[in-house]
């Protein structure tokens, strides 16, 4: 799956995206976040305040308890601040 990061999340992790094989037992976005947080100190820092994370699965905004299903792209970012 392609993981895409934006804004402060991208800066904390240090990369804009990465392609990872997530363990198949991860069911929801929350599961994926917990697993990703253990991958590096950057990921841990980026995901430490889970209430401030927002998500898009295949470019659709979805809540944290959404199932990953067979999505190809998970984006993780802070609340948007455009306009």
């Amino acid at each position: 799956m392609r993981l895409v990061y934006f804004a402060a999340v991208r800066e904390a992790i240090g990369i804009a995206f990465e392609d990872l094989d997530l363990p198949t037992h991860l069911r929801t976005i929350e599961d994926a976040i917990d697993w990703l947080a253990a991958q590096s100190s950057g990921h841990a820092l980026a995901f430490q305040d889970k209430a401030r994370l927002r998500f898009a699965l295949d470019q659709e905004m979805v809540p944290a308890d959404s199932a990953l299903g067979d999505a190809g792209e998970l984006a993780i970012f802070p609340p948007v601040t455009g306009g």
Partner: protein, 146 residues
Amino acid sequence: MKRVIVSSEPISAEVALAGLSDLGGGAVSSFTGISRDDGGVTAIELEHYCGMTEASLLRLIDEAFARWALLGAAIVHRVGRVAVGEQVVVVGAASRHRADALEATAFLIDRLKTDAPFWKKEHYSDGTSVWVDAKATDNDRSARWT
């Protein structure tokens, strides 16, 4: 007429709204957001989710067309580095009667603030920079439309 533009070059309300006046309607409403000189801000930087951005803006316009009797709508959003005083976003709507255009304009900018994948960083004169926090008031205004 539906227009969505995401531009890394300076944008202009005139160009963004061009044509909205010529759709046979009696009403054109618009909103322009401008980069502000807040406490030493020298520029802002707008990151966006290329690919999702245009689709999410077009979806906002589609939703506005479903809710109001519109003849046209436009959203033009700047990305990249934006100097203080430059336009960040222009939204506009055209309709026969004014209530539709006025409400659709407020809807488009309110929902854009909470639904479109843009992130704003402020650069200060001392060289520091900080990501802007989302505002609770933006969530409140956006929720009025759901």
